[in-house]
């Protein structure tokens, strides 16, 4: 049976999840990547149209178009490399109280520690599967920080069973991709 997280995400919903588990998200989700993180962490500015406390963000920069009635919709939206946000994500988690961070690939120790301390998880969405993801977006409800341009703006959307999301950092601070990297490096050492 599908394990579905619903916003607002209580600690209870995520506390027993383990790295490698697959979950889905129903509720509100906001894109937030390099420029958005800098605005929250460095400039201390919070978005007005989504509650990040117990909320969910997506490291992603979509393609958005307008339908015949002029309403914006998701054409294509997949995850971007989460590791780019490593230097600021721990502060972002502390400042916002966000529970779920979705992105591509893994993050590192600083973020894993913040997930453990503040009760959050990082999940990986399969990279490049952007049309599948767009079909799981029911509606774009708002957009903030358009001054960043389309990829970096904060797109706020309602999603239904958005996933598969593979838990890559759990609330104990376990880290799937860092574990995998050790394995890949051991295999590499045999080659050189």
């Amino acid at each position: 049976m599908k394990k579905i997280l619903t916003t607002p995400i209580s600690y209870d919903q995520i506390k027993d999840l383990k790295i490698g588990d697959t979950v889905y998200l129903t509720g509100m989700l906001a894109t937030c990547r390099d420029a958005g993180h800098a605005r929250v962490v460095n400039d201390g500015v919070m978005p007005k149209h989504i509650e990040l406390k117990e909320g969910a963000i997506f490291h992603a920069g979509p393609i958005v178009a307008k339908d015949e009635s002029g309403k914006e919709y998701m054409v294509s939206i997949g995850p971007t490399t989460s590791r780019r946000m490593e230097s600021v994500e721990a502060d972002f988690i502390e400042k916002t109280g966000v529970r779920l961070i979705i992105g591509k690939g893994g993050m590192m120790d600083k973020t894993a520690n913040a997930c453990k301390t503040f009760g959050a998880i990082h999940c990986a969405y399969p990279g490049g599967c952007a049309v599948v993801a767009a079909k799981e977006v029911e509606e774009i409800t708002n957009c903030e920080w358009r001054d960043f341009g389309m990829p970096e703006a904060l797109w706020i959307m309602r999603v239904k069973e958005f996933g598969p999301l593979v838990v890559s950092i759990d609330t104990k601070g376990n880290n799937l991709f860092e574990n995998n990297k050790k394995l890949y490096n051991e295999r590499m050492e045999k080659l050189i």
Binding site: S76, G78, G106, G128, K135, N180, K181, Y184, I192
Partner: protein, 301 residues
């Protein structure tokens, strides 16, 4: 060139660019299906299922296969008898702009050192255009590549000591992919360039990705190294998408050039599982042939 011919020329480039964003080239699509079929691990099979579903949905809905449609790069082989030499640059730029706005592709191009987005993938020497002259030809060959962000991050070049030799080349490739390949959406298409300096080696590594998967370098030693690097990288088991499975790469292509005896330059460029590239020939009468996408376009509406 009259205005209707010019518009036709722009539309050819725009349609070509849109096609590259929506449909995988035949070689990449075929290899993905092979890797999915060969995959043994359950979780990895689920990921390939998602990838193949995405390839199918992109075609059905006529939408870019990945939201990151990259920075647009065009590699031109210009016949010296092609009748519209004066118009080529303007037409490529207008074709890129039209494809961005109408497909739509994601407007990625930002101002250097300012990050302001131009909104249409044009500006500040973008799209990237490279020209090579072909004597006694009336054709224009256009090869293009969409350089995505995530899959460009592992890219690097360095000048090794010649005594490091083939082992040094292998180590450089393995270390780069093991450290950076996880986040670049594997299975990766790995281009390796071997030359004199960092710059020419890097450019050769990009050219390597313009050659179809499954073809081998004419130089026998380079062809052998392509296979050895594929086997070595596949033994790391990074794909799909860094979750781990039976393979790492779509393939490895090498391009190499005669080099200085005191240097062993190496460059690496990586393409993701959705490596988007295209190859077409435009004739002097503006008829054209699309070389890279035949099978993958079957059933196109």
């Amino acid at each position: 060139m009259d205005s209707s011919a010019k518009q036709r020329f722009i539309d050819i480039i725009s349609d070509f660019t849109a096609t590259v964003g929506i449909y995988l080239s035949d070689d990449v699509e075929a290899r993905l299906f092979e890797l999915a079929k060969d995959e043994k691990e359950e979780n990895a099979k689920t990921m390939y299922g998602c990838i193949l579903e995405n390839v199918k949905l992109a075609k059905e809905l006529h939408r870019p296969i990945c939201q990151d449609t990259g920075v647009l790069q065009y590699f031109l082989e210009v016949g010296t008898d092609f009748p519209y030499l004066n118009e080529i640059k303007e037409v490529i730029i207008e074709g890129a702009r039209k494809a961005t706005l109408t497909t739509p592709l994601r407007p990625n191009v930002v101002e250097p050192l300012g990050e302001h987005n131009t909104g249409d993938n044009v500006g500040f020497d973008a799209p990237y255009i490279e020209y090579e002259l072909i004597p006694n030809s009336a054709d224009l060959r256009v090869r293009m590549y969409m350089a995505g962000g995530g899959c460009s991050l592992p890219g690097r070049s360095q000048v090794l000591m010649p005594l490091q030799g083939i082992d040094g080349i292998k180590e450089y490739v393995y270390k780069t992919v093991a450290e950076w390949g996880v986040n670049a959406c594997p299975p990766l298409f790995v281009g390796v360039g071997l030359g004199t300096c960092a710059a020419t080696s890097a450019m050769l590594s990009k050219k390597a990705l313009l050659r179809p998967l499954g073809t081998r370098n004419e130089n026998e030693k380079a062809a052998k190294l392509e296979k050895e690097l594929e086997d070595g990288l596949n033994s790391l088991g990074i794909a799909p998408l860094g979750f781990g499975g039976s393979n790492t790469v779509l393939g490895v292509n090498i391009e190499c050039a005669g080099h200085h005896p005191a240097t062993l330059g190496i460059g690496i460029t990586t393409g993701c599982w959705a490596t988007r590239k295209g190859d077409m020939i435009i004739h002097g009468d503006l008829s054209y042939e699309l070389l890279s996408h035949k099978k993958s376009l079957e059933g196109k509406k």
